[in-house]
């Protein structure tokens, strides 16, 4: 039975050598900021790990997260680790459909009660249960039912982690993140639109090695991958510090690879591993290919006032406000000036000069 195979057996069947496997363990341990002494422990744990049962639930999503994780450019160890898990339910990838598919989910839940992992991509609509259903079951019901027996939930992608694009204003479906509905299970948010494949394999490795979830930041994301901002690890950072910016997408600065902050780069407020782990087998990441960071791994990145406007600039038309303000200020100033002038004139008219006689009169009283 494939389910009872260890991970290393599954990998060996796929033609992964022990050397490649150890290289993977070393790079994953280093990515997750584990000390080198932990590499054998990671390898041992992975070698002996039984394939964990994973139930993958896709709700209001675009399948981009699944694409990102399954369709890497060339077969990688990350991809094969992903293949090696016992993916018992994933309605995009599974061959079964209809009742057979739902039966597979129920079986996995019963057989592995308390031990299986639930991976969720997509947000959950709350405004109307009918907005998104699978096999006639609303997303909300399916999530709550499946989460009940789960060891942990991995919210993959910004939609599952923070609501994402469906949650963007005005949020017509009342979309919410997994963490808003499930409160009694450990949830790990692997945000990004889509998230980096190596992050999910890193999280799985950690879970298989230690049997627990890695350290999380305040947004529930693994610190090892989301601990530093894109800005802090960006190779264009020296240009920011020197004040050298691309002003448009085709000016000299852009050609010289200067900082994209002025073109709306959200690197300073975005925490993700793009600048270090990179994409497409470590080829590049958006900033490297000349486009500002959109901040896709942050909550509400869609509502940040425009991708090409820096976060520090006002959203309204301040030029018009200045003009109206100046006009109103001038009118009010002139009016107040006239009032003050009138008051001054009245004071002058009411002024009674004091002469020598008055002083003498005053002296006479004493």
């Amino acid at each position: 039975m494939a389910k009872h195979k260890t991970l290393i057996e599954a990998l060996q069947q796929q033609g992964i050598s022990r050397r490649s496997f150890l290289k993977f363990c070393a790079s994953t341990a280093s990515l997750m900021t584990l000390p080198p002494a932990m590499i054998p422990a990671v390898a041992r744990a992975l070698e002996q790990a039984r394939r964990p049962s994973v139930i993958w639930l896709s709700f209001q999503e675009c399948t981009g997260c699944t694409e990102s994780l399954t369709r890497s450019h060339s077969p990688t160890v990350e991809g094969l680790i992903f293949d090696a898990i016992s993916l018992d339910y994933h309605h995009t990838l599974q061959a079964a459909s209809g009742h057979a598919a739902e039966a597979a989910r129920m079986t996995a839940m019963e057989e592995n009660h308390g031990n299986y992992l639930v991976v969720v991509d997509g947000s959950i609509p709350t405004a109307n249960a009918g907005f998104s259903t699978i096999a006639g079951i609303s997303n909300r019901d399916m999530l709550l039912e499946t989460a009940r027996g789960a060891a942990a939930i991995i919210a993959v992608g910004t939609c599952a982690a923070f609501g994402g694009i469906p949650h963007a204003s005005p949020n017509p479906t009342g979309a919410v993140a997994v963490s808003e509905l499930v409160t009694d299970k450990p949830i790990i948010n692997v945000s990004g639109c889509p998230p980096i494949p190596v992050v999910i394999s890193g999280v799985l490795t950690h879970f298989l090695t230690f049997g627990s979830l890695p350290a999380l930041d305040e947004l529930g994301r693994p610190k090892a991958f989301f601990g530093q901002s894109i800005h802090d690890r960006c190779y264009r950072r020296p240009f920011y510090d020197k004040g050298l910016f691309a002003e448009s997408f085709d000016d000299e600065g852009a050609k010289k690879g200067w900082c994209l902050y002025k073109l709306g780069c959200k690197g300073p407020t975005t925490f993700n591993a793009c600048a270090t782990a990179k994409w497409n087998s470590g080829t590049s990441f958006p900033i490297q290919s000349g486009h500002p960071c959109l901040g896709c791994s942050e909550p509400d990145f869609w509502d940040g006032g425009g991708f090409y406007r820096p976060l520090s600039t006002p959203t309204g038309d301040i030029g018009a406000t200045l003009l109206y303000g100046a006009a109103a200020g001038a009118a009010a100033g002139v009016a107040l000036g006239a009032v003050n002038q009138a008051r001054k004139r009245r004071a002058q008219q009411a002024h009674q000069p004091v002469g020598v006689d008055d002083l003498e009169k005053g002296a006479g009283h004493d």
Partner: protein
Amino acid sequence: MTETEFLMWVRGPAFQVATLVFVIGIIVRILEVLLLGRKANLAEARGSAIAGGLRTILTRMWPDRGTLQRSTFTVVAGYVFHIGLFVTIFLYAPHILLIRDVFGVGWPALPTTIIDAATVVTIITLLAVLIYRLRSPVQRFLSGFQDYFVWLVTILPLITGYLAFHRIGLTPPMLLAIHILSVELLMVTFPFTKLMHAFTLFMARWYNGAIAGYRGVRS
């Protein structure tokens, strides 16, 4: 209200209101001073009031030796934090970006390490100025609520800006929102407090210089 919504509110409606109060307030206060008018000087001119006015605007940029010797700390610290404020406000790249966004003009930025150092120096100097004010019997006697209040609204954007730049304590969008909000607080209090000296000092210098110039004496 989520953090992003808060940041959007701060960058949007709150910034609009702050700008309106700032612009209207400053123009009203300057016009009020100017429109009050002065009596015609009937004495014969012995020199140029205009030349005297302009000269004094420039010469008062430097302290005279006597003042410098009597109040060395006040003068030096005053220069340091004013120059520091100028550098941090007008020579930091994101601030220039904001100015260019609004007025359409911009200028080259200083490296962020210099801005960072200038911010620290300015914050320390402002703290020193406060301690000096509290410890000097004369300054303490002369200080009222407003003096401490304008000190607070001046140092807040520096501290929040420093925290936002280094992302200390809260999430970056929250830190940025708090920083912008602290600047908005400065903007709405600016026209109605002693902070107005940033605009009125040139008028006052001009007036002092012009009187002296008209009389043909040095101011």
